[in-house]
């Protein structure tokens, strides 16, 4: 754990990268879920 942490502390850009990656996965998951809900609603309203 420690050498990994030291490496991150020195090359802070990778911290940014991990954060951005997490944000992106979060956005993707949210939108994916949203699409599922919209599709369900469309089917319900079109009967």
């Amino acid at each position: 754990m420690n050498p990994f942490y030291d490496f991150l502390e020195q090359n802070s850009l990778y911290i940014v990268m991990i954060i951005v990656l997490l944000v992106w996965f979060g956005i993707f998951a949210f939108t994916f879920n949203l699409e599922k809900r919209v599709k369900k609603l469309e089917e319900k309203l079109n009967q």
């Binding site: 990778y14 990656l21 994916f32 699409e35 609603l41 469309e42 309203l45």
Partner: protein, 241 residues
Amino acid sequence: MRAFWKYLLLILMTLVILGGLIPPIVAYPKNFFEFPLIPGLEDKARIIFFHVPTAWLTVLAYLIAMFYGIRYLKKKNIYDDMKSVSAAALGLVFCILATVTGSVWAKFTWGSFWHWDPRETSIFILLLIYGAYFALRSALDSEEKRARLSAIYSIIAFLTTPFFIFIMPRLMIGLHPGSLEIDPATGQIRASANPVIKFQMAANMRVVFFLSLTAFTILYFWFWNLTHRILKLEYNSQKEI
């Protein structure tokens, strides 16, 4: 088939984030995984992968909004108007993102948050046009009037934008990179006459850059598609009531 695009997007964007942030920037890149160094920019050059696509998207969004606006004028199909608004709403979001990211970057690179550089000015004008578009829409009650008049305004506002793209090189030599020299000795900045930045990028940077454009464009179309479908659902369910 639809699912393919989503997973492609997931992979592409992940690659872009990794590809944009991992490769180190060195003075003399030896292999494919190193980006060339531009003195003065160093790591900040990475913005190209994230800021330029937002600017490109906001312009694309405007074109889509105008296209569906014209379609509405021809066919009077309210769904076309919905597509137009949703395109414009997303365009506004990306315009704000482009302006803000550009401004923050400018603070660290050129000294202050805003310079009235030609390209900065034109993104600001686009922001005003989007603002005017939505102000107009909120001032109109009748659905038909709203659709019709906002489509017309989008056309008229669009006609003035070429002037900005061509006034730019005339007005001043801007700060924005018109051509990025990889040679560290030169400092020449030439304003480009095209909205698309024509510059020499290293081949590997170009790959990531175009992947980024593609990924953001797919993202935009996904959001746009969802938004206008939701608008349609809201509209239809209200009609039933």
